[in-house]
Amino acid sequence: MPEIRNMTINFGPQHPAAHGVLRLVLEMDGEVIQRADPHIGLLHRGTEKLAESKPFNQSIGYLDRTDYISMMCNEHAYVLAIEKLLGIAPPKRAQYIRVMFAEITRILNHTFWLAAHALDCGAMTVFLYAFREREDLLDCYEAVSGTRMHATYFRPGGVYRDLPDRMPQYQASRWLSEKEAAARNADRQGSLLDFIEAFTQRFPNYIDEYETLLTDNRIWKQRTVGIGVISPERAIALGFTGCMLRGSGVEWDLRKKQPYEVYPELDFDIPVGKEGDCYDRYLVHIEEMRQSNRIIKQCVDWLRANPGPVMIDDHKFSPPNREKMKGDMESLIHHFKLFTEGYCVPEGEVYVPIEHPKGEFGVYLISDGANKPYRIKIRSSAFTHLSGINDLVQGHMLADVVAVLSTLDIVFGEVDR
């Protein structure tokens, strides 16, 4: 009788469904997974060590590059940690702007997640639809920060600058006719807030479109219902947070439970799942997008009614106005000091978690009183979620690994740091 042995196969690191550079060593019995052993670190850049060698403000851009799908949320945790150690608080308007962009980022992340998840399970259309909306939101990023991805917009003490009064316009070219450019520019005639508001009006219909494509789709359900089930107790023990925990029915959201910034003043709900499978997590993501849209609307209304400063008026932490700098010695010195040496953060340590689109994103910052962090540890949710993959895929088929991987919402910039 021939000997039957388990087969070991390599999934990735070059595989479109490996979401970047994951090498997954799978031990298979036929087509059933016996054990999954992820090998990570192919994108390890030593972000935390690099941050130790730079003044605090210069590392904000590195945080953008950890989870490069939800850029501003990473900055948010880092900036909050610095502020907590410094004992400063940004002006209210800056907090609203941050929350608004945190929620825009959440939609950016969830649309990308949905696009990639659906594509991995074989639904191409959703991908194209979701990228249409991401385009508009990335334009918002561009309007405030000048870049579409790595914004470096949040700063200790506020945000880099106030919201612009006008949006960048499309220009007609060989590939874009006058008429088409005018149609695309129709929403861009007013300020950024007008543009965002118009988006929040459109967006619920777009979510309905995604749902039409997926929610009752027979193939989608076959690929996700009952796949990657995790019990609430096990999810907590494995350190799961965010949608992975809420999908299992645990109502845990740091925006409600340990609120930061202006979240207590905003009205939104926390969706939870029941079964803890991929399908429930999909429903949770969809509902979170609707809730984020609600939050953005409230922020837009508040920001319209309340103009004011967006940065604290303390030039130890924020650069002085350029015009003032030309004539005022004090301002010039402040500017010089801030951009050469930076500011010293009092000795101490702090762990600041936020509700990142993917789960709990925490920054543990130790300062010894210097102008550079002594140690910074980035606690990323994707790292923890990926570490639990063996529990999720055991006993499933090979094709389900793809569905489970994409439901985890992993981004390698964040896993490997």
């Binding site: 990570i40 670190g41 907590i236 010293c344 543990y364 010894d368 102008n371 540890k377």
Partner: protein, 217 residues
């Protein structure tokens, strides 16, 4: 939150009397400091006793206190000749905290029932730094401990699978230690003669653009 931080701190001091080096409250967060001998006992109590019930371990990370409080450059007044751009390694700026050991592993705990967080710092006086693994208590510690082992060389006794995780296969050294150079020790390049990728000593030099300074805010 049923208990305020102050009350919780009191309770922790009472409950773990004799097991802790220190328990402190700073910037609204509680830190327990202890030695490896009492880690498992304290963690077990923190997880299972209903008044604490820290069911989730959010994070484990290594810390190397080798250069704590060391600045590169220090002056309080100006000179007639101006400042050099030279960087002196290891100027002690002021009297800073001393630590019982060079390495520590730090655990961030979360209680979902009481909506509360706690930090446990375990100093590791042995050489090489060694501590019992908490994977038995919280499965989420598995990868975090592998990471701390990889980056700091902390050995976690009883860990089921203590392999490197973030660095390359066959990597030498523990890169997040403070005495590991930022630019590393080796670099890789493709050698056209040998027709393969080879390792060689690094050819780049680290230039410190902004010296590390410590000032009283």
């Amino acid at each position: 939150m049923s208990l305020t931080n102050d009350h919780l701190l009191e309770r922790l001091r009472e409950r773990f009397n004799g097991l802790l080096l220190d328990a402190r409250l700073a910037t609204g967060q509680i830190t327990l400091e202890l030695l490896p001998e009492s880690l498992i006992e304290v963690c077990l109590a923190l997880r299972d006793e209903p008044e604490f019930s820290f069911a989730q371990l959010s994070d484990v990370c290594g810390v190397d206190y080798l250069n704590y409080g060391k600045a590169d450059w220090e002056t309080m007044d100006t000179t007639s000749t101006g400042f050099s751009r030279g960087v002196d390694q290891g100027v002690y700026a002021k009297t800073v905290r001393t630590f019982p050991a060079r390495f520590a592993s730090v655990y961030q705990l979360l209680s979902l029932t009481h909506n509360r967080r706690l930090r446990v710092r375990c100093f590791l006086p042995s050489d090489p730094p060694q501590v019992s693994s908490v994977t038995e208590l919280w499965p989420s510690a598995n990868w975090f401990e592998r990471e701390a082992f990889d980056l700091f060389g902390i050995l976690f006794e009883g860990h089921p699978d203590l392999r490197r995780i973030l660095t390359d296969y066959g990597f030498m050294g523990h890169p997040f230690r403070k005495d590991f150079p930022l630019e590393g020790n080796v670099e890789v390049r493709y050698d056209p003669d040998q027709k393969r990728v080879i390792y060689q000593p690094v050819t780049i030099e680290n230039r410190v653009l902004v010296p590390r300074v410590i000032r009283d805010a």
